[in-house]
Subunit: 191 residues, 2 copies
């Protein structure tokens, strides 16, 4: 039951942080939304920052799990497609956690931010590994790996600004379109 | 002199909105940062929202001007490159206006938001025109124009999250890398 309440707090907090912003959400707001006293909340989390930290860790750990699965694909093109689809699917299925994590980084204390950034770097490192493997095999052309990875994450992450569930496309379908666009390019081939 | 003060208010407001967020910035904060009284501020703008609105209009009008120049290039590939470079350059040179505009849309009243969105749609329409022309000429492959335009703006706009002036690359150089990536794709051509 402790865990159930804890998860309920995280879910509600992620929703509020996403809608109102982390800074604009008070512990009082969170307690009211949950129908809990502030004392009950503090029984589970020492601070609002602790809640954001836990949300960020869960989001990044979820992303890393999907990244590991993509990375295990031997074909670099398939691995890249899986990575992009998995990122978009994780975003769609865990939108409040994902958005609260992406937007909350600068609100964490230096120590917590360092842990969060290390996890994010680990995740982005998986994408870079996929790209590097593809370049080493001659499947991808030789490009700046860091900027290419940044381009891919920019495409996917900007979805927090416009993608709404229930629209004509699933997030995964958008990811497949983006994969196709950056893989084959916009230009008609000479072939 | 009225115009000079007005511009100084807009510059300072754009900086504060970008750093602290629009909601978290009070008219009092703005007056203090400028060394003006609130009464003096209200002499120039009726409300904080009016300030954000003016910032958003100036940012979008600046983007539209650069979009027009890109659109006037007859070669669709050159036009697309100019559009992407121009967007990135405008962002780098007018960062506070650009970021305050992008982040402030949801804070505007429905009427002001409608005007702002119409301008943004006009700007995005220029990018779609460039893509459509390229597809009609067979220079670009036939793709969903709306999603392709969205991809391009996602790449460029996500720079507000990571790009810092004074780094190893100018924003325009990043835009050229992105242009190359989506134009030619990541894959080694069969040719």
């Amino acid at each position: 039951m402790g865990t159930a309440t804890r998860n309920r707090i995280l879910e509600e907090a992620a929703r509020l942080f996403t809608e109102k912003g982390y800074e604009a959400t008070s512990v009082q707001d969170l307690a009211e939304a949950l129908g809990l006293s502030k004392a009950a909340l503090y029984h589970h989390f020492r601070s609002k920052e602790e809640v954001l930290y836990e949300i960020s860790l869960q989001a990044l750990e979820g992303l890393c799990r999907q990244g590991e699965r993509a990375l295990s694909e031997p074909d670099p093109k398939v691995a890249l497609l899986r990575f992009m689809e998995g990122h978009a699917r994780f975003f769609e299925e865990n939108r409040p956690f994902f958005v609260a994590m992406l937007q909350g980084l600068q609100s964490l204390s230096p120590e917590k931010r360092a842990v969060t950034i290390a996890l994010r770097d680990r995740y982005e490192g998986m994408l870079r590994s996929i790209l590097e493997r593809g370049m080493a095999l001659g499947v991808f052309r030789p490009l700046d790996v860091g900027l290419t990875a940044r381009a891919i994450l920019s495409l996917l992450n900007w979805m927090i600004r416009w993608f709404r569930p229930g629209g004509p496309l699933r997030a995964e379908e958008v990811a497949r379109f983006y994969f196709d666009l950056i893989l084959k390019g916009l230009e008609h081939g000479a072939s």
